[in-house]
Homo-oligomer: 235 residues x 2
């Protein structure tokens, strides 16, 4: 099977989510045009992305159920993967309680916290254990995914322990870039960065607006530029 583009892999779950909604609405087919409108991309990008699934039918579009299934297969949503979570603070607990991840094949098997008072708690069916047990259990249970939801200053230390215990992928929610060996995958979920992008675009929008109030003649130009802040913006 050919290697998929990174950008496309990021869009596949979005197609899946849209299909899921369509299914709930009893829709049988959806066109590339419709997908495109909902995702704010060009219809040809949708066709390009979905063509490898070979589910598209001329004149009708993409069948909802079958296409969902194929995306699930392609992304390996079926093979559930187990993960350990470090940090049972509010973000960690939110992740434990977030049942949506199960659907995508992620099962948080246990959580760990440095605070001994938290040991024994159960959130969303996940038990919190003392931090010292992480390394030993991780390697013994052969868990290859580690989720980091500890403060920025302890994140690197936790990552090192996880990697030492055999982790091959780290999903990092701490606002800090991590250093890991070349064979380990890291994905940073940097909320601050996400917010800054929103905030920056908002300021750009606002200042553009006040400009076009100041200088009346810019109207047309400004309308053209608004192509950017149209609806959806994903990354």
């Amino acid at each position: 099977m050919q290697r998929l583009e990174v950008a496309m892999v990021k869009r596949l779950p979005q197609y899946y989510q849209i299909l899921n909604k369509m299914k709930q609405h009893g829709q049988e087919y959806i066109s590339s045009e419709h997908f495109a409108r909902l995702l704010n991309v060009d219809p040809s990008l949708v066709r390009r992305d979905l063509s490898c699934l070979a589910t598209g039918i001329q004149k009708l579009g993409y069948p909802v159920r079958l296409t969902m299934e194929r995306i699930g297969q392609l992304l390996g949503m079926r093979n559930t993967k187990e993960a350990f979570l470090a940090g049972a603070g509010s973000l960690g607990r939110a992740l434990m309680a977030y049942s949506g991840l199960k659907e995508y094949g992620l099962k948080i098997t246990a959580a760990f916290d440095a605070d001994p008072a938290k040991a024994g708690e159960i959130v969303g069916g996940v038990k919190v254990l003392p931090a010292e047990k992480l390394a030993d259990l991780m390697s013994r249970m052969n868990i290859s995914i580690g989720i980091i939801a500890v403060p920025a200053d302890t994140a690197q230390g936790v990552a090192d322990v996880m990697v030492g215990a055999g982790a091959l992928a780290i999903w990092n929610f701490a606002p800090m870039t991590l250093q890991v060996p070349g064979n380990v995958i890291v994905r940073n979920e940097n909320l601050a960065a996400g917010y800054m992008l929103l905030s920056y675009e908002l300021e750009q929008n606002l200042s553009r607006r006040s400009e076009s109030i100041d200088e009346k003649h810019v109207n047309e130009q400004a309308a053209g530029e608004q192509a950017l802040p149209q609806g959806e913006r994903n990354t």
Copy 2:
């Protein structure tokens, strides 16, 4: 001031976080080379990104404090923005409790939940109010940022209310793309999509590994391809 590239705006908070760490370590300067290693990008990209700050000094690198300050200015981290949060479930509470966002200029002024039992609760200094009050308060208080942390099936409805009440930017944590008018900015923080990317890369890595065990002669090739899963991967 020229418009900054989207990709660059997403990296600026990362530079900021690294600088912050350097400051705590008492470091005075940091080179593009050092930044690049920590972020897993090319040093010339770092220089390109930071050149507009005009803080770089030949032979020394970038002064930590001044560069942090400039990034803060450029991103408008100083002008604190107020936001309303919809949904006081576990994710919503995590956001209320996440003090880190203040540093980046985001203040969650109030939270709203459809469950009347939650009204009156206070988390991280943020009070939870009944959902019915959202629209009225949002327009009266002139709040332009809405944060959505409700389940997928109610997210669009909440977004509509927020937009109706004058929201200009929506930070969406529901796993569902939202439809908003062209003048409103949306940023989707799609955890499922983030996880799927990690999981897909992990599977690719594992199968590549087993391949190179099967066919011994692929060794060189495989080593070359591993350029991809090197350390950090952000988006």
